[in-house]
C-alpha cells in the first residue's frame, strides 16, 4: 500500500436547502482511502454515507452544496473542479455502482450498448471495436453467453445479472477508485455473495481502491480492510476491521455491532448497549405453555399453487389459430407442515422460493390450486378467498407486511389505521370505546400516545412498523404472519422491533409464521424453521440446529452466504 492516499476527504461539510431552512447533512467528515484499499463506510439511514459518495463524485442534487472542507483525489482538488472536469473523471478515474441495479440501467437500451457508451465516451474504444470490448467486459463479470446478453434489456435480466452489468460499466474504463453504494441491498444472500466476491476479485486484479457503503456490518467485516462508522453526518469511528469488531470505542459503534444479529447472538443482546430503549423489559424467557396446549393450530397438507407461465402465447378468442398446452409454473409444490399453538415458525428462502405465495395462501388472500390448510380445527381452504373474508376465522389470522410505509394508508393517521380492524372485524361502535382500545394497543407496542394523531409520513420507520403490528394484533389473532417485517428497517430499529414481537407473543400467546430471507433474524425469533427452495421444503427443524448444522445442500449454501463477523475468525 502506498503512503499517498488516492482519496482524502478533509473536514467536509454539506448543507441541503429545504423548504424549512438548511439542513446539515455532513458535519466535518474526514477520512482517506489508500491505493488498493477497501474501505467500508457503515451507518444507518440518514448517517450521510451516500451524501459523502455523491459529494465526491459531484452528483449531489442541486439543493445540496459542499460548504466547507476539501476532497483530494490523487492530488486533484475535487471541490474546486467544474462540471466538465468532473465529467472527464467520472467513469474513467472513479466510478460508482448503486443499489437497485435494474432501475439504475436504462430500461430501453441494450445493456451492451450501455457499456459501449462509457467506453466511447472516455475514448477507450472506437465505434469499430466497442462491441468486442463490451462483450469482453460482460465476460469479465461472468455473464454466460455474453454475445447474446449484449442485446438484452435490463428487464430481461435478473437483479444479480443487472448488478454485474453495472459493475461491467463501472469498471470498463479501468478506473482507480470504485464507490459501491449499497451494491447488494435487495439481492438474495447467495447472489449478494457472488456479486461481492466478483467485485473483490476484479478490484484486486486491477489494484483498485474501493469505498463500500453499506448498512450491513457483516458485509463490511467480510470484504473491507478498514471501516468508517458514520452517524448523523459525522464520522464517529475509523478503525481496521479487526480492531473495530474486537474493541469498538464509540458507543454508537458498540450499539450497531450489538444490534446486528449474528449466528450466536441472543435477542436480549441486541439492545444490550441501547440506552434509549424504554419499551424493553428485562429478559423474557421463552416459556410457552407448550405442555398445556399441544394441539396443532395450523396444519398444511400438500399445498400446491400453480401460476400460468408468462411466456406462453395467450390463447385469446381473437387468435384461435394456435392453441398450446397451457404450461404452468408451480410456485408452491406440495408442501406440508404443522404449527403448534404458541409456536413461532420461520419460513426462509430466497426470492422466488414460494414463501410469499405460501403466506398469501395461509392468510387466504389467494386460493391454492390444491391442498388443505387446517386452521384451528377447520379446513379454511374449503372456502373461497372471498367467502373466507366474511368468516369469524378471518380475524384470527392477521398479517404484518414487509414495507411499513407502503402498507399504511397515507391518508389515515396512526389512530385510524389501528382502529380500522376494530371497526371492520370486531364491529366495535362508539368512538370512545375505540379510542380506549387503540390507546391500549399503542401502549402494548410501545407507541407513544402523542404519535397517534400523526400520518405515516410523519412517523419514523420503526414507529410505522409499530403501527402495523398494533393493527395486526387489534383483533386478538391466534396466528400472526410476519412477512419480512424488519427488512426495511435499520439494524438498531430492527433489534427493538424483534424484541417487541417476541414480548407480544409471550404476552398474548399468539403463534407466528415469520417469513424472511435472513436466517440470523429468523433464528432469534423462531424455535423452528422451514427452509424453502423452488416451491419445496428442503429442510425443517429447530432453528439453532438448522443454522449451525444444516443438512441440505441448499441450506448450507444459504447459511454460508450470510456475511457476518465472528471475532474469532478475524
Amino acid at each position: 500500500m502506498d503512503a499517498q492516499p488516492i482519496l482524502r476527504i478533509d473536514n467536509l461539510s454539506v448543507r441541503f436547502r429545504t423548504r424549512n431552512g438548511t439542513v446539515d447533512a455532513l458535519k466535518g467528515v474526514s477520512f482517506s482511502v489508500a491505493k488498493g484499499e477497501v474501505l467500508g463506510v457503515v451507518g444507518e439511514s440518514g448517517s450521510g454515507k451516500s451524501v459523502t459518495a455523491f459529494t465526491v463524485t459531484g452528483l449531489l442534487d442541486q439543493a445540496g452544496e459542499a460548504c466547507a472542507g476539501t476532497i483530494n483525489f490523487d492530488g486533484m482538488e475535487l471541490t474546486k473542479a467544474n462540471e466538465a472536469e468532473l465529467r472527464e473523471l467520472r467513469g474513467r478515474e472513479f466510478s460508482m455502482i448503486f443499489q437497485n441495479p435494474r432501475a439504475a440501467l436504462n430500461p430501453i437500451r441494450p445493456v451492451g450498448k450501455q457499456i459501449e457508451d462509457v467506453l466511447i465516451q472516455h475514448a477507450q474504444a472506437t465505434r469499430q471495436d466497442a462491441k468486442a470490448k463490451a462483450i469482453s467486459m460482460l465476460e469479465k463479470v461472468k455473464i454466460v453467453e455474453p454475445y447474446l446478453r449484449y442485446w438484452s434489456y435490463p428487464f430481461e435480466l435478473s437483479g444479480g445479472m443487472c448488478q454485474r452489468v453495472m459493475i461491467a460499466i463501472a469498471l470498463a474504463c479501468e478506473p482507480r477508485l470504485l464507490i459501491a453504494d449499497e451494491p447488494t441491498t435487495g439481492l438474495d444472500v447467495t447472489t449478494q455473495k457472488a456479486t461481492m466476491d466478483l467485485i473483490r476479485d476484479l478490484t484486486r486484479e486491477q489494484h483498485l481502491s474501493v469505498v463500500l457503503i453499506t448498512h450491513d456490518l457483516g458485509m463490511a467485516a467480510a470484504y473491507c480492510d478498514r471501516i468508517v462508522v458514520m452517524q448523523k453526518g459525522e464520522v464517529v469511528e475509523t478503525a481496521a476491521v479487526r480492531d473495530l469488531f474486537t474493541a469498538p470505542k464509540h458507543p454508537y459503534t458498540k450499539k450497531l455491532i450489538a444490534a446486528s444479529p449474528g449466528p450466536s447472538s441472543k435477542l436480549d443482546d441486541l439492545t444490550a448497549v441501547l440506552d434509549d430503549n424504554t419499551s424493553h423489559q428485562p429478559s423474557m424467557t421463552r416459556t410457552i405453555n407448550s405442555g398445556a396446549d399441544t394441539g396443532h393450530l395450523l396444519e398444511v397438507v400438500d399445498l400446491v399453487k400453480e401460476f400460468p407461465r408468462r411466456d406462453v402465447e395467450m390463447t385469446g378468442w381473437a387468435w384461435p389459430v394456435k392453441k398450446r398446452e397451457a404450461q404452468v409454473f408451480r410456485a408452491v409444490d406440495g408442501i406440508s407442515f404443522v404449527l403448534k399453538r404458541g409456536e413461532s415458525l420461520g419460513l426462509v428462502g430466497e426470492s422466488g422460493c414460494g414463501k410469499s405465495t405460501t403466506s398469501s395462501i395461509l392468510t387466504r388472500l389467494m386460493d391454492p390450486t390444491s391442498g388443505d390448510v387446517i386452521f384451528d380445527g377447520a379446513n379454511v381452504t374449503s372456502y373461497s378467498a372471498q367467502q373466507f373474508a366474511r368468516l369469524p376465522q378471518r380475524m384470527k389470522i392477521q398479517m404484518v407486511f414487509q414495507d411499513p410505509s407502503d402498507s399504511l394508508n397515507p391518508r389515515f393517521t396512526a389512530q385510524d389505521s389501528i382502529a380500522e380492524p376494530l371497526k371492520r372485524l370486531l364491529k366495535m361502535k362508539g368512538s370512545k370505546q375505540i379510542d380506549i382500545k387503540v390507546e391500549e394497543l399503542a401502549e402494548k407496542v410501545g407507541l407513544e400516545k402523542a404519535l397517534l394523531s400523526r400520518f405515516p409520513h410523519q412517523l419514523s420507520g420503526g414507529q410505522k412498523a409499530r403501527v402495523g403490528i398494533a393493527r395486526a394484533i387489534a383483533a386478538d389473532p391466534l396466528l400472526l404472519i410476519l412477512d419480512e417485517p424488519t427488512s426495511a428497517l435499520d439494524v438498531s430499529v430492527q433489534a427493538v422491533v424483534l424484541q417487541l414481537l417476541d414480548r407480544l407473543r409471550c404476552e398474548l400467546g399468539m403463534s407466528y409464521i415469520f417469513v424472511s430471507h435472513d436466517l440470523n433474524v429468523v433464528r432469534l425469533l423462531c424455535e423452528r424453521v422451514i427452509v424453502m427452495n423452488r416451491g419445496r421444503i428442503v429442510e425443517d427443524g429447530l432453528a439453532d440446529e438448522v443454522l449451525s448444522n444444516p443438512k441440505d445442500d441448499y441450506t448450507r449454501q444459504l447459511v454460508s452466504a450470510i456475511p457476518h463477523f465472528e471475532p474469532g475468525k478475524l
Partner: protein, 340 residues
C-alpha cells in the same frame, strides 16, 4: 420478427369488436336524434301524404332492425349511402373532404409537436427559469382559450387589423385552381405538380387555422413532455449515466428523452383525437371544406347516412391512430408487447 407480426395482427383483430360496436352505436344514436328527416326533406309545404312518400323513399318506414341490416349490408359493399343534404354519395363526400381535414389537423399537430416538445424539454432541464415560466404560461393559455375564440381572435388581428393573412374562406383563394388530385393534400399535390405559387397560396390559407389548432394541442404535449422529462432526469439510470461521465447531450437525448418519449407518444394519440373534435369548430370559423363542417350540416338536417358515415370514419381514424402509436411504442420500448 414473426412474433412482432403476430402481435400486430392480433392488435388489428382486437380493433374489430370496437369497429362493430361503433357501427351499431352510430346507427342507434342517429335514430335517437330529435327531428324527423322525412319532414325536413319533404319541405315546408308538404302535407301528410307527401311526407309519408318521402319516408318510404328514404326507407324509414321499415323497422330499425331491418334498416340496420340494410345499412350493414350496404356498408360491407363499400356503400355508405346517399347524403340527402348534398345529393352525393356519402363515401364520395368523405373522400374529398377527409384530406382537407387531415391536412389541417396534421399541420396543426405537427406545429404543436415542433414547439411543445423542445419547449417541454427546455423547461424540464431548467426548472424555475424564464423558459419554464413561458412553458407554464403557454400551457395555461392553451388550455383556457377555446379554439373558436383563438380562431376568431387570430382572424381579427391578422386578417382584419394587419391584413397579413388572406381571407379565411376555405383551402385556397378563389384566384387559384386546386392542384391536380393525387393525395388530396393541397400542399403536397401542388408540390408534386411543381406549382410553387399554388403551394404558397395553400400555405397562406393553412397558417391561421393550423396555428389555432396548434395552440390547442400545445398545452397537453408541452406539459406531458416537461413532466416525463423531469421524471426521466431524476431517474436512477440518468444518475448512472452521469456517474459514468457521459456528455450532457448523450444523457439528455439517448437516456432521458427516449424514455420520456413513451408517455409523450401516448399523449399524442389522445391529443390527435381531441383535435379531430376541435376541428369541427375551427373548420366552421375558417369555412374549411372538411368533414367537420359537413358533419354539422348533416346533423342539422338529420341526414342519417352522412352522420353515420362521419362517425364511422372518425372512429376508424381513431382506431388507426391508436394502432400506429402502439406500433411505434413497440418499436421504441422493448418491454411493450410482452404483457398480453
Amino acid at each position: 420478427m414473426r412474433t412482432k407480426l403476430a402481435q400486430i395482427g392480433r392488435r388489428l383483430l382486437q380493433a374489430l369488436p370496437s369497429v362493430i360496436g361503433i357501427i351499431v352505436i352510430s346507427f342507434l344514436l342517429t335514430r335517437a336524434l330529435p327531428g324527423d328527416p322525412a319532414v325536413y326533406f319533404a319541405g315546408a309545404m308538404a302535407d301528410k301524404e307527401s311526407i309519408e312518400q318521402v319516408r318510404k323513399a328514404l326507407g324509414l318506414d321499415r323497422s330499425w332492425v331491418e334498416q340496420f341490416f340494410i345499412y350493414a349490408g350496404n356498408l360491407a359493399k363499400g356503400d355508405m349511402g346517399m347524403s340527402h343534404n348534398t345529393g352525393r354519395p356519402v363515401a364520395e363526400e368523405l373522400l374529398t373532404r377527409l384530406p382537407a381535414s387531415l391536412e389541417l389537423t396534421l399541420t396543426g399537430l405537427g406545429l404543436a409537436i415542433l414547439i411543445a416538445v423542445p419547449l417541454g424539454m427546455l423547461a424540464a432541464t431548467r426548472p424555475g427559469s424564464w423558459i419554464d415560466h413561458l412553458c407554464r404560461l403557454l400551457v395555461t393559455a392553451g388550455v383556457s382559450l377555446p379554439t373558436f375564440f383563438t380562431g376568431l381572435f387570430l382572424i381579427y388581428i391578422f386578417y382584419y387589423l394587419l391584413g397579413w393573412a388572406p381571407s379565411p374562406l376555405g383551402r385556397l383563394d378563389i384566384l387559384y385552381m386546386p392542384p391536380p388530385h393525387a393525395t388530396g393534400f393541397y400542399a403536397i399535390d401542388s408540390l408534386l405538380a411543381g406549382d410553387m405559387e399554388t403551394f404558397a397560396a395553400t400555405l397562406r390559407q393553412l397558417v391561421l387555422p393550423a396555428v389555432t389548432l396548434c395552440l390547442f394541442a400545445l398545452a397537453p404535449i408541452a406539459r406531458m413532455t416537461r413532466g416525463a422529462m423531469l421524471g426521466a432526469l431524476a431517474s436512477d439510470y440518468v444518475r448512472t449515466a452521469r456517474a459514468n461521465g457521459l456528455t450532457r447531450s448523450k444523457i439528455l437525448f439517448t437516456y432521458a428523452f427516449r424514455n420520456a418519449a413513451l408517455p409523450v407518444l401516448t399523449t399524442l394519440g389522445m391529443v390527435f383525437s381531441f383535435l379531430l373534435g376541435a376541428n369541427v369548430l375551427v373548420e366552421k370559423v375558417f369555412s374549411w371544406p372538411g368533414i367537420g363542417s359537413f358533419a354539422i350540416e348533416a346533423l342539422v338536417a338529420s341526414d342519417y347516412a352522412a352522420v353515420q358515415g362521419f362517425v364511422l370514419s372518425m372512429a376508424l381514424l381513431f382506431v388507426a391512430v391508436n394502432l400506429i402509436i402502439d406500433l411505434v411504442l413497440t418499436l421504441i420500448d422493448p418491454r411493450v408487447g410482452l404483457e398480453d
